[in-house]
Subunit: 135 residues, 2 copies
DNA sequence: GCAGTATTTAGAATTGTTCTAAACTCCTTG
DNA sequence: CAAGGAGTTTAGAACAATTCTAAATACTGC
């Protein structure tokens, strides 16, 4: 079989989101190639470069909805700017300061031992490892 | 005994910062008790409650200068808000979502194995572990 | 004490993000 | 396939966190 041609409208519908033109355009940019890290501003610039103008507010809306639907993961590494990661599986990040470049690395080779128990009345949600590096 | 009275002016001077009234007032709030996590807004409210009014801009300036001087560490855990940690030693964080509560835990019991090498042309700066928990 | 530079300040400006209300579009139904 | 309603999009205003600006003030060395 020749490469899966991702049916974006269907994927969006499966996530409980109406496949509007702008959501499909954004999904295409986000999910068509390999994994990516984007900011709202960056994605807005990209989508404007296509023949489908989309407002910045819609980019923000879509990113938040995609994240809530589990299609994206939000990564908080730098003050004042949110990154969204199309890789929603288990993995961690390299963050190159001060450029703001972000790279995934798989978590399956990484072992974290000796973590204390969560504070009383809380349960573990996720463990983020951010390896900060400099040029 | 009257306990150790930390000489804040001297500590500031040692860090290369002039011991102005407002910096000393902020240092007192930050370093007098045990380790703390503060936001600029929060610290501003606190310092206003003392008899020494300090502008919000000065709080931001001071926090940034203290961080640059190594007296504080900035912790990025939530989008749109920076936390400053008076604990500059090796340790990691619990972050209670969605309240925004932050707790330290020492890193000496924690072992992280299997981290990949930093990307070419970069050197390791720090490894942050954020354990996200929920109520 | 005085000059001189660093610091503080109020308020404006900037940046990133969310909100609002009106216009539009997807989808279902007839 | 027209119509209607709910869900979306949009431009622009609003908001929140932070930084900048230019003028006033405070620390420090002499």
């Amino acid at each position: 079989m020749t490469g899966t041609s991702p049916d974006f409208p269907a994927r969006l519908r499966a996530a409980g989101l109406r496949p509007t033109r702008q959501r499909v355009a954004l999904a295409r940019l986000l999910f068509e190639g390999g994994h990516r890290h984007v900011t709202a501003e960056g994605l807005h610039v990209e989508v404007k470069a296509t023949r489908m103008p989309v407002s910045l507010a819609t980019v923000y809306n879509a990113l938040n909805q995609f994240r809530d639907a589990g299609l994206l993961r939000e990564v908080v590494v730098a003050p004042g700017r949110s990154y969204f990661d199309t890789n929603t599986g288990h993995h961690h990040h390299f963050f190159v300061e001060p450029d703001g470049e972000l790279h995934d690395f798989p978590s399956d080779k990484v072992t974290i031992a000796g973590l204390p128990a969560p504070p009383k009345g809380t349960r573990l949600a996720r463990v983020d490892v951010i390896v900060r590096v400099r040029r």
